[in-house]
């Protein structure tokens, strides 16, 4: 099925199921319970999970396969968003042309920037990409304000000259992005006892795109082209003396991953029609690097896990405030409650950066292969335990 090997096929199916049932999986705690704070199954965050998943999958095609560390990838996400919003302003509120344009524009930008930056390798390449992205950010924030909206971002207005579709809804509001009549922000809720699950059209649209992107990524990983990219990472010298020109390979990888970023940007704008310059800042580029390495660079699923991990932190941990902490520990005697809250407080809410930093360090120190390696270790540990159980006399098998 899908022309994939068995393990990849299983992985794709698992990812597909997890994505489709995300509204259930991410809302494990009943509404109103103290743990509901940790629920992540609301449309915006679910959309972010998959959109940043796409971004990281694309980044991994470049970094994970070729080893070229781009420090300016957020720029392509940014131009993708701008392209999409301009499409909404000028053409139509349908997301399809907007997303197509954002992929194309991001592809063109990455072709140009990649063509120049790939003349160098290693950290020199990283700094070149960083420089391009920072230039784009700085100009978008300031001089290019008429095109980009500058500080306030590019937004839709009530008087946009939309060619297909009205400038305003009958009620006098700005129309929302949709897919042939399905509005991206539409949701319906499913109530089961104390549990509430939200199904959002935008999320499912993004999820479909993500599964398709993930499938495409698997195909690329397993293709001759993917093999060549891994060969570039392994030994460029041998590539050259094997009659292979590495530049077009790396450039193709750069453009493909730039287009993934543009796709993510286009989807972001489709879910929420605003494009801000901060999306292109180096911190945003650094974030996707962190996502990829944290999840496991070069692995298929790693970047998606990393993206989810960081976005979860950013959106869930940052919202826990001292009042909530006090509620959680209200069952404790007063003095103890205050003490525990005082200890935890620096790490949650406004301290979420601190916790994230500590977790980065832990993962890098103890799990060099990222979260994927963590998963593998747990699996092998479980298998070992299982095999220990299966040998009733308790003798362990000799190590391989």
């Amino acid at each position: 099925m899908f022309k994939l090997e068995k393990t990849d096929q299983t992985l794709l199916i698992v990812v597909g199921i997890l994505t489709l049932f995300a509204p259930f999986i991410l809302n494990p705690f009943p509404e109103g319970s103290a743990m509901a704070q940790f629920n992540a199954g609301y449309p915006d965050l679910m959309q972010r999970f998959v959109i940043f998943g796409i971004f990281a999958i694309g980044f991994n095609i470049l970094f994970g396969l070729t080893g070229y560390l781009s420090f300016g990838h957020a720029a392509f996400l940014g131009v993708g968003s701008y392209a999409a919003v301009w499409m909404f302003k000028l053409l139509s509120m349908n997301v399809i042309p907007a997303i197509i344009l954002s992929v194309v524009v991001a592809g063109l930008f990455s072709l140009l920037i990649g063509f120049i930056s790939l003349r160098r390798s290693g950290i020199y390449f990283s700094i070149l990409t960083l420089a391009f992205a920072q230039m784009m950010f700085a100009l978008a924030y300031s001089v290019l304000t008429p095109i980009t909206g500058g500080e306030t971002g590019l937004q839709l207005a009530l008087d946009d000259p939309r060619i297909f579709g009205a400038s305003q809804t009958p009620e006098g509001n700005i129309p929302v992005p949709g897919l042939f009549g399905l509005e991206m922000r539409d949701s319906f809720d499913l109530v089961m006892g104390s549990w509430v699950f939200t199904f959002n059209i935008g999320y499912y649209f993004c999820a479909m795109v993500m599964i398709a992107s993930f499938y495409l990524a698997i195909r690329i990983f397993r293709s001759p082209f993917g093999l060549m990219l891994r060969a570039v990472k392994s030994n460029q010298q041998r590539m050259n003396y094997t009659g292979l020109n590495t530049r077009p390979y790396t450039l193709a990888a750069f453009v493909i991953s730039g287009m993934y970023a543009g796709l993510a940007g286009g989807l972001m704008a489709s879910m929420d029609p605003l494009a801000g310059a901060e999306r292109m800042q180096w911190t945003a580029s650094g974030e996707v690097v962190l996502m990829t390495i944290l999840g496991g660079a070069g692995t298929l699923i790693g970047p998606v896990l990393g993206a989810g991990f960081i976005k979860y932190f950013e959106n869930i941990f940052s919202k826990i405030n001292s009042t909530i902490l006090h509620e959680w520990f209200a069952f404790l005697p007063d003095g103890l409650e205050d003490f525990i809250v005082a200890i935890l407080y620096p790490f949650i809410g406004k301290g979420w950066h601190l916790t994230l930093g500590i977790l980065f360090m832990m993962v890098v120190i103890f799990l060099p292969g990222g979260l994927v390696e963590g998963g593998q270790r747990i699996r092998s540990w479980l298998q070992k335990r299982k095999s220990e159980k299966n040998t009733p006399n308790g003798s362990t098998e000799p190590a391989e």
């Binding site: 022309k3 994939l4 090997e5 195909r219 690329i220 397993r222 293709s223 001759p224 082209f225 993917g226 093999l227 060549m228 891994r230 060969a231 990472k233 392994s234 030994n235 010298q237 041998r238 590539m239 050259n240 003396y241 094997t242 009659g243 292979l244 020109n245 590495t246 077009p248 390979y249 193709a252 493909i256």
Partner: protein, 251 residues
């Protein structure tokens, strides 16, 4: 007229004349050794042949075409393969994958965006690679990580990779450097076998006289960046100039 014709090649690095007036003709289907003491310019000459360096003067013709100014991958596509002093292989890939890459390069050229089809679907490539692994006696290691192999196996793999491109000229840069005696003899046997069984020209740069005299049909002696003499092995052995410049020094 040899398959490789080097005419009046000179190369300067700052104040050092690394090569001057090098003339060399490698006959088709022969094994041609280039020997010389350290610093004689052997590696510089080799680098000029594969496009890593561009000589200041002279010409390098391969099969009637100039190689000068071409990138290494273009020269390789013309039919020249190179084996390095320390094996250059794809350490992160499996042995089989290593072997497939030159097959792709041979079939698809310097660049081919083949991003969708699965590798196992490339039956012809798989067959070629498997076949070459068997030729190299490495079929049992096909799923091993290349970096995890012994040096001798790495060398064997590298030679196999070069051969699977079906090159017309195989350049070897001290292929037995740093090898144990047994590995060296294995490599000699392998090269002999290749030279006998295949329609291929071999040019070898070597320090080890044992290797040179067991393989070479013809020998060029390089000293101080310029060829001293070019002759058959038995004549080289008796040549006093060579003895003085090279053998005498090591004896």
């Amino acid at each position: 007229m040899g398959i490789l014709e080097v005419k009046n090649v000179g190369k300067r690095f700052g104040g050092l004349q690394a090569l001057s007036d090098v003339n060399l003709s490698v006959r088709e289907n022969s094994v041609h050794a280039i020997i010389g003491p350290n610093g004689a310019g052997k590696s510089t000459l080799l680098n000029c042949l594969v496009g890593k360096l561009i000589p200041d003067t002279g010409s390098v013709m391969f099969d009637g075409q100039s190689v000068l100014g071409r990138a290494p991958y273009e020269i390789n596509q013309m039919g020249i393969s190179r084996v390095f002093q320390t094996p250059e292989i794809f350490g992160d890939l499996t042995v089989l994958e290593n072997m497939m890459i030159p097959c792709f390069a041979k079939r698809d050229g310097a660049f081919e965006l083949n991003a969708i089809s699965a590798i196992p679907a490339q039956r012809d490539i798989m067959e070629q690679a498997e076949h070459m692994l068997e030729d190299m006696n490495m079929a049992d290691k096909r799923h091993m990580h290349a970096a995890a192999m012994s040096r001798g196996d790495k060398r064997r793999l590298e030679i196999g990779m070069c051969l699977s491109q079906q090159p017309r000229l195989l350049l070897l840069d001290e292929p037995t450097a740093g090898m144990a005696r047994a590995d060296t003899n294995n490599t000699i046997d392998l090269l002999k076998q290749i030279s006998d069984e295949r329609d291929i020209t071999i040019a070898i740069i070597e320090h080890d006289m044992h290797v040179v005299f067991s393989l070479a049909d013809r020998i060029t002696v390089l000293a101080q960046g310029t060829p001293l003499v070019e002759d058959d092995p038995q004549n080289i052995k008796g040549n006093p100039k060579v003895r003085e410049a090279y053998l005498g020094e090591s004896a």
